[in-house]
Symmetry: C2
Subunit: 184 residues, 2 copies
DNA sequence: CAAAATATATACCGCACAGTATAGTCTACT
DNA sequence: AGTAGACTATACTGTGCGGTATATATTTTG
């Protein structure tokens, strides 16, 4: 991947997170990235295409970051450690909300490619949680995964509305109760 | 309140929910409402002022709808019935996500008046849940309220990304476990 | 009836938007 | 040396945006 393309992706990701997607024009993106619109449109066929690549990159990065850490734990412990890493993720000063959650709010039309991609990422995350739950020996892995995803996405939303809300700590406590309840 | 002002508020609320706030122009609003921009700007000093009134109206309506139903129940039962009404609320065909959650995604800057209002509504909702929990005799009412708010807001988000996701059913089950665990 | 408030119609301003056209520059490889 | 590919500079198109100016019509109220 071209250096400039990576730079554009990274700048666009930053601006989308801090100013919103619809509120960020391509002129701003190329100005901050130190390039021109001609170059941007050689790498991306449209702004929508750029948004989709940014969202994919964001989710890929999140999933790689998380699974890399959890893979080092024993399968039975992964569900327990999950919320520690989520807490670490949302506590980063660079955290400005989960990209696919915010994108679905900015593109509410269900037939929009961007909204569809949000749904895809949401399902991928849930499926990953279900794998973790299954590895931990949970019978209703899908059910618990859905409940944990509600807690995590709710906490991410809360932290996006107000930094330092402390929502993750309570989400973790709730998750532990739900996990314990699923085990017996 | 003027009939036309109410009409503008209702039309703007609809369009904001279905197309997004930033993607909805004032020209569209007045065209659908069957009036003109001059009239709109007599009732609202700016688009931002209109957005704020729409958000306030939306939260006011939600809270009135919910508390009206819960007030008819005995205090000790209210927490149990809460998720039944939330389920009814999000299952309405008119449901397109919780307004203050989506607004915070479209206006990510924490110093934006709209983002601040989102935070206010989020706190108001949490405080209301804490009252319900206290009425039900929960010791750590604030803690449980925060956890329940994560489940509810997570489920609303899930239902906004994909209608008919069934997230609320699982949120309800999780809530019952958390409530039971808080009581003992 | 007269005055005052309220709503309309229409045209306009300046700006930002996504996207394109044209022409020129730089670098790298053969 | 020469050519191809990547990048830049700049100007442009057309559309939609938030918001205003002006002037007229309709309704309400004293």
């Amino acid at each position: 991947m071209s250096l400039l393309k990576e730079k554009i992706l990274q700048v666009a990701s930053d601006l989308f997170q801090t100013r919103g997607i619809n509120s960020t024009g391509v002129d701003t993106i190329v100005a901050v990235a130190g390039t021109t619109k001609m170059t941007l449109y050689k790498h991306f066929h449209s702004k929508e295409g750029l948004i989709i690549e940014v969202l994919n990159e964001h989710y890929r990065h999140f999933h790689a970051w998380l699974s890399e850490r959890l893979d080092r734990k024993k399968p039975a412990e992964r569900l327990q450690k999950l919320f520690d890493f989520i807490e670490e993720w949302v506590s980063s000063p660079d955290f400005h909300g989960m990209a696919f959650l915010k994108a679905s709010a900015e593109f509410p039309d269900a037939s929009s490619p961007i909204h569809e991609l949000s749904n895809t990422h949401s399902q991928q995350f849930r499926r990953y949680l279900a794998e973790l739950a299954a590895d931990a020996g949970i019978a209703d892995a899908e059910g618990l995964a859905l409940q944990l995803s509600l807690l995590i996405e709710g906490a991410m939303q809360a932290e996006q509305i107000k930094r330092g809300s402390g929502a993750i700590v309570y989400a973790k406590k709730a998750a532990n109760i739900l996990i314990k309840s699923s085990l017996r």
